[in-house]
Assembly symmetry: C2
Homo-oligomer: 150 residues x 2
């Protein structure tokens, strides 16, 4: 299976907070309408983003806002905030291979090493992208769209 869409939802939320700057209108319901999901899903993700120090939200008061500047938030920050993949857990190894077999009793060590390296490569790719770039992409993409449609 693939990595939970909670990650893409979180990115969406943060981009929306950056673009739609009127704090009070950014309620979970408003954001849910943009993402196309249930407001509770938004609140849950928002809660994780808050714990990670990426947004400011207060119980009872409408809206949320970014806690950092866009260039200072990487996709890796968001990924870790929403906890979609635990450490060394992108790849699932089969459990309890046979210790009577030379392969069985030694393979996990090697697999762990290689899987960890691969997961790290993926995460470092995310670390190289900031939300500023994603928002730029979005604005640029919309500009193109406008031109195409006259």
């Amino acid at each position: 299976m693939s990595i939970s869409s909670r990650f893409s939802v979180a990115i969406h939320i943060l981009c929306l907070l950056a673009v739609s700057k009127d704090k009070a209108t950014n309620t979970s319901e408003y954001i849910a309408a943009s993402v196309n999901t249930n407001p509770v899903v938004i609140r849950k993700v928002m809660s994780m983003l808050k714990s990670a120090g990426l947004v400011h939200v207060r119980a009872g008061v409408a809206g949320a806002e970014l806690a950092k500047e866009l260039p200072n938030i990487t996709l890796l920050d968001v990924y870790k905030a929403v906890n979609v993949v635990a450490e060394n857990d992108l790849f699932n190894s089969h459990e309890h291979p046979n210790p009577e077999c030379i392969v069985g009793r030694n393979i996990q060590q090697s697999l762990t090493k290689q899987f960890s390296a691969a997961q790290n490569a993926m995460e470092q790719s995310l670390a190289g992208v900031t939300l500023a770039e994603v928002v730029e992409d979005i604005l640029e993409s919309d500009k193109m769209r406008s031109l195409e449609n006259g």
Copy 2:
């Protein structure tokens, strides 16, 4: 969720074929005992490895053997053979964001780009490792184990 253990099982199988060279003993039942799973799981994975040209197996005849030399099989080859992650499908994006919203109608394009880059980074990491290295790790690891236990 994480990537199916079918991948680690496939690596286990191939290493076992390399180490246990008596072809006739490498039945699905024997391999299953080393991996600690059901023989049908082994046959299914073996079938995928066969389709990818990594092993030779024949219906009705006991055993299997490698179709290539260890240094010529990368972890990426195995990963693709067992089809654990489809192209551009490591990350799951939320579907149908609101086209009325500037973020909603443009974010998928950017997400696809970044997710694809991250997935590619992970896969290229796997491409840099061959089964020869994994088997070396296993043999080396077992040697250490022997020394420790006198």
